[in-house]
Structures are given as C-alpha cells and as structure tokens.
C-alpha cells in the first residue's frame, strides 16, 4: 500500500453525485484524496494544480460536455495517458461504446445504492491503488 493517498479528480457537475462518490470512498476507507471539479472548463487547470493521477468523469456533464472533456484530455499531451474512469447515468450501448472509443479506461454506470457506491470505491481502490501501475 502506498503511503501517499492517490489523488483523484472527480469531474462532476452535480454536487449531490459528488457527495455520494465521496461518501462511498469514505465508507471503505480507501487511501484516496478526492478533488471536485464542477465544470468542464476547469478540468485541465485542476488536473495540473492538484497533481491528480487519475480522473473520474461524469459523462453526462450536460449535453456533450462530458465526452468533449474526455476528448480534450486525450488530445492534451500532458494527460493523454492519464487513466480516466467514466461514471455515467446512461447504460446505453452507444454511450458505452462512445466512451471507450474516446479513450476511457473504464465505463461504470452510476450506482443506485450506497452499498453499490462503496463496492465501486472498494473495487476502484483494489485495482487502481493496489494493483495497477500508474505512470
């Protein structure tokens, strides 16, 4: 286990959803530090200033904004390899395919219970914090 908590940027325009994600991670006591980015135009700035190693992105950031953010991250040399995990309220095949096509590292449907939030947080930490090597 890392000594330093993993710094995650949560790109989420809905404050309630952000609080639920936060609560999920707190519930499993995962070694992470969450930073909230409430709008698309602050993503790059916060990724850099908060030195985030990974991003959780709400794909339904209002219109196509979420997808645009993903594409912008991939187009930016500094973040082209940054792991981006998409959190979306849509389970449609098209959105899932579009998400991966645009360069998402994983696509997760937003959970419907707090237990599922915790399960997501646990699985996230188990893989991205404990197992995966991140550049």
């Amino acid at each position: 286990m890392s000594v330093e908590p993993m710094r995650i940027l949560v790109i989420e325009d809905d404050p309630i959803d952000f609080s639920l994600v936060k609560k999920g991670f707190e519930g499993v006591d995962a070694p992470v530090e969450l930073f909230h980015c409430p709008s698309a135009d602050r993503v790059v700035e916060l990724l850099e200033s908060r030195a985030c190693k990974i991003a959780l992105l709400d794909l339904s950031l209002g219109g196509d904004a979420g997808m645009d953010v993903l594409k912008a991250i991939r187009a930016d040399k500094r973040f082209s390899t940054l792991p981006v995990i998409v959190l979306s309220s849509s389970a449609s095949h098209r959105d899932i395919a579009d998400g991966y096509a645009a360069g998402a590292n994983a696509y997760v449907e937003k959970p419907l219970t707090m237990e599922l939030y915790r399960r997501f947080a646990r699985a996230f930490a188990a893989f991205w914090v404990d197992v995966a090597a991140i550049g």
Partner: protein, 608 residues
C-alpha cells in the same frame, strides 16, 4: 394567266363592238364574242400573242388613240381605237375596238370606269402591282377583304407593307400567330420575292374560315398580278403542306408548354402563343424579343455555349429557369433544348419549356418539411437524453438516499435520516419539475402550426395577462410599444412571448425591479420583435447554447430552473415561422432577445 373568262365576260357585257384587250406588256389577253365572230376566231386563239405598237403608244397618253395594228392570224391590219384600261386611275391594260364601228365618244370616255366595274364584278380578288411593288389596281373583292381587317388597299400602297399588315391583322387566321417578326425581317422572306412567287399558288385559310388559292404571276416588266380564288376546303395532295402546317401550328398554340425556335443569329424564328403571352409579346411585336440578345437574355447563357452542348443525335440539354413574366410574376420553367442540324451543321435551337412552378414549390415544401422532421427527430434524441439524465439523476438520488435511510435506521443512527429524507423529497420535486417541462415541451414542439393573421400586440397582452402573478410579485414594469401584424400561429406566438417575458421577469437583478420593453422594428420584409430587460443578462459566450433544448448552463437548477427548455421552444417556434431568434450580444444593460419574423410569408401549405 389572268382569269380570261371573267374578264371576257365583263368585256362582252360592257362593250358591244368587236374589241380585244392587250396587257401592259403588249400581249393579247382576250377578246369579246363580237370580235371573234367578226374574224371567225376560236376562244383564246390569239391569247398571249404579241400586239406590237400598242403599249408604247398608250403609255404616252390616257386619251384614246387611233392606231393600225397587225394581229397574227388576221390577214389585214386593223384600224382600232385604243383606250387605256384604268382601275382606280391606274393603267392596267388596253382595250382596242374596231374603228369601222361607229364610235360613241361618251361611251369611250366612260371606258375606264367600265373596266373598274368589270374587275369589281369578278367573284374573286385581283391585284396588280408595278415593278416598284406599288399597287396599281385592286378590285372590290380584295380591297374589301383587306379593309375588313383595317388594312387600306388603294393604288400606290406597298405590296410588302400591305401583306405584312394583313398578316399582322390576322387576315390569314392562325397561320402566323405567334411568329415574332418585324416588318424588316418579313420583307427579307424568300417567299415574297418575285422568282419565288411567279406562277406559284398557295393555299391559305382566311380568318373568316374560307379557303383561298392565291396565284401570282410576274409579268415581263416585273409587274405582279395576283388573284385570290375561293376554293373548297383543301383535301388534295397539292395543298396538303399548307393544311398540315396550319394543323401543327394550331397544336402548338394549344400546347401549354413554351416553344421557341431560335436561329443562329440569336433571334427567335418562332415563339408559340403561350410563350409570347408570358413575355408580353403579341407575337408580332418588334423590339426586345427580336434582339440578337434574345437567347442570352432569356436563358442566361450564350447561344454559342448552348450550341457547344448540342450535337447530332445528342440528348437534349435540360435546365431550370426562373422567368420573370411580363406581368412581373415569376414562373419556374424546365427547358429542354434540342439542336437543329443540316447534316452536322447547326442551324438553330428548338427549346420547349414546361411550367414546373407548382412542382418546384411542392419540392421546396417537401424539403422544408423534411428539414422540420429532421429537426424534430433531433429534438426527440435530446428528449431521450433528457430522460436518461435529467430524470435518471433525481431518481438515482431518491434510490441512494432511501437506501441510506434504511442503512442508518438499521444501525439505529437516526441523526442524518432527516437530511437524507429531505434529499429524497427534493429529488422527487426535481423529477416533477423535469416531467412538467418535458410535457410542456412536447406540447409545443410537436404542435403543427396553424397560421392566420396575428396581431402581435394582442398576443403580447395575452402573454402578459398569463404572467400576471409573477409580474406583480417581481414588481416588474412592462413597456409595450405598438406591434405589427404577421402571419403566424397565435398559440405558438403567445408561447414565445410568454417565455421571453417570463425569463425577463425571472432573471432580474437582486433588489432591482425588472423593467421589460417589448417593441418591434421593421427591416424590409422582416419584423424584428424585441424583448429587452434590465436583468442579470447572459454571457455572450452562451449566445448559441442557450437555444439548445435542455441545455443546462448551471447544474444548480434552483437558480436557473427551466432556463434552457423555454428558449429552445422559442427557437423552434421562431423557426416554424421561418424566422430566427437571437440574443443581442452587444446589449449590456441586461438581456435583449430579437425575434426576426417574415411579415408576409406565404405559409398556406403549412396549415394543411
């Protein structure tokens, strides 16, 4: 040649003495029965033989002269009294009477009028023209015929001008109707020239429906004698071409399509009646239609360019043209141009134009409808996106918070339960608001517009009345200027204004009473309807996005509740009126929305 028998009968009727007639060129024309019996001649025996001496003498004087003439076939020279034959004071021939017979001077003096009377009694028309194409004589029959069409035929008038005037006046019925031709062009026609007409007979149908055979004879001295005989409706092969031409010309006249034949000089050789009418030509008018620029002016491409596209056996060239008619209305024509060739040498173009105005407008209407449909389909997609997000988000929140309440309650930890329950309630309320908006949107967005004359001022007052409570609550001040009338759907227009006014009331500055101005400016065929406020305004960078359905600029919809959906509706309404809605980004005092609408757009098709 001349209708001898008729002249002969006339001669016999007016002159009792043995007498014969000599033509202007000094040839024996005919004689009367008294002359024949005197010398034992058969009818027409001397016809055409030369009678030397008479014409040269008679040309000198109109008076009677005594001469001795020798006639072939008659042994002794004859002493005759020669008298010019006058028709309307012009010499058309000479009458010679045997001098042996007692002269009656009185009768002699009256001879010219006898001749005129004799010619006038002919059952057919007769004209004689001199070498300079001036009329020498026209008998009553032909003079009356031309006169009935307003053309005067008196000695001295010009042959070409007279015939042209007759044609133009419709003397020959339908035959030349639709032919745009000037007198100048007409005069150059080969079939008016002496070599062409000499001895040739043409069959014509007059305006009164009667058929005539017109025969012309060119004398040695270039005089022309023309006579019109009435005939039965032609059936024989001989006159078929004339009847066939008439038949096809009448077909062209009843064809609704435009037909034009253009020569290599760019001038029309033929324009059928419907096209001539559309161009405001009476078929004979000179001027613009006859200019060598006719082709280029009418078709917007040069004759040479068009000819390049045409070759023997090549398919016709088709193109669409918007033609301004003489009455200033427009028609869409689909032209089909064929080349005319002699061998492989081009000699002209025949173009037929079909009026496709109706099809064109239907096509445009279809295009408009399919665009509308595509737009509605896109809206439907957004609709689905909203259902998957705007409805799903609060639903998910309800689920999560309800779940959390269960969890906390199970743990006996009731401290946060109230907070979670409040979240459930507010999420449910948010869902309710979204559903209301969706319903509102679907009602307006899918409404088929029904157009009528709409007074915008009345509509604005209705909209304001509907918003009375909000306006009162905000202590808003409304300034409503004079507004024009437009063609539109009253319900949709009211909705549009209501949305804009509601926004202006809603997005007010804290502590500042809203001041809303509604006014209109004319921009030619468009009306600019303006709703302007002194509220918080809209960042110009959102100028386009605010009109996208369900676009949320702020996630906190407590502040910006219902913002996007209303403007998206306004945009749809403006577009269904073939107008646009814009945010005036230059305005700094608040928000200014400009709805540009056509004043008199013809939307009849839409209402059906």
């Amino acid at each position: 040649m001349l209708s001898h028998s008729a002249i002969r009968h006339a001669l016999a009727a007016v002159i009792a003495e043995p007498a014969f007639v000599v033509t202007l060129d000094g040839r024996y024309a005919c004689d009367n029965a008294a002359f024949r019996s005197r010398f034992g001649l058969c009818e027409d025996q001397l016809h055409g033989s030369e009678v030397p001496g008479i014409s040269s003498h008679a040309l000198c004087s109109l008076a009677c002269a005594r001469l001795t003439v020798s006639l072939a076939g008659i042994a002794n020279p004859l002493n005759v009294v020669v008298q010019p034959l006058l028709a309307r004071n012009l010499v058309i021939g000479y009458c010679a009477r045997l001098e042996a017979w007692p002269l009656r001077e009185a009768a002699l003096e009256e001879a010219p009028s006898y001749i005129q009377r004799a010619l006038d009694s002919l059952p057919f028309g007769l004209t004689v023209w001199d070498a300079g194409d001036r009329l020498l004589v026209a008998n009553k029959s032909i003079a009356d015929l031309y006169h009935s069409h307003g053309v005067t035929m008196v000695p001295g008038v010009n042959r070409i001008e007279t015939v042209y005037a007759g044609l133009k006046a419709g003397l020959f019925g339908a035959k030349f109707t639709g032919m745009a031709i000037s007198l100048e062009d007409f005069a150059s026609k080969r079939w008016l020239s002496r070599p062409f007409i000499s001895g040739a007979a043409t069959i014509e149908r007059l305006a009164n429906g009667l058929w005539v055979k017109i025969t012309s004879h060119v004398c040695e001295n270039d005089f022309i004698v023309t006579y019109y005989e009435r005939i039965d409706e032609p059936t024989g092969n001989e006159i078929k071409p004339a009847a066939t031409a008439e038949y096809f010309l009448s077909l062209l006249r009843y064809l609704p399509d435009f037909v034009v034949h253009i020569g290599l000089d760019g001038k029309p050789e033929f324009i059928n009646a419907p096209f001539a009418e559309a161009l405001g030509l009476d078929g004979w008018e000179t001027g613009q239609a006859l200019s060598p620029e006719f082709f280029a002016d009418t078709f917007g491409t040069s004759l040479q360019d068009m000819l390049k596209k045409l070759s023997v056996g090549a398919p016709p060239v088709s193109f669409d043209q918007r033609l301004r008619k003489a009455d200033n209305s427009f028609v869409w024509l689909r032209w089909s141009a064929h080349g005319l060739f002699h061998g492989d040498k081009p000699v002209g173009i025949v173009a037929t134009g079909r009026n496709i105005t109706l099809e064109y407008s239907q096509q445009q209407e279809l295009k408009h409808q399919s665009e509308e449909l595509a737009k509605k389909n896109r809206s439907l997609e957004q609709f689905a996106a909203v259902v998957s997000h705007d409805l799903k988000a609060p639903l998910r929140h309800i689920s999560v918070f309800a779940d959390m309440i269960v969890e906390e309650a199970a743990n006996g930890n009731l401290a946060d339960v109230t907070v979670y329950a409040q979240q459930v309630r507010s999420s449910a309320q948010r869902m309710d608001r979204v559903i209301r908006r969706l319903l509102e949107y679907s009602q307006i967005a899918y409404k088929i517009a029904a157009f009528s004359r709409v007074n915008l001022a009345d509509i604005a007052i209705q909209a304001i009345q509907n918003l009375e409570s909000q306006i009162e609550e905000a202590k808003a001040e409304l300034l409503l200027s004079k507004l024009p009338s437009i063609n539109g759907d009253p319900d949709l227009m009211r909705h549009l204004l209501q949305n804009l006014i509601a926004n202006a009331v809603k997005y007010r500055r804290k502590g500042v009473a809203p001041r809303i101005r509604i006014y209109a400016t004319d921009k030619g065929a468009m009306v600019n309807l303006v709703v302007e406020d002194n509220g918080i305004g809209i960042d110009p960078k959102f100028a386009d996005r605010i009109f996208t359905a369900f676009q949320r600029l702020h996630s906190d919809d407590k502040i910006y509740e219902g913002f996007g959906i209303g403007l998206a509706l306004c945009k749809q309404i403006a577009e269904s009126h073939r107008g646009v809605i814009e945010l005036d980004a230059t305005y700094r005092g608040g928000a200014r929305f400009v709805v540009r609408l056509p004043q008199n757009v013809n939307l009849k098709e839409q209402s059906s």
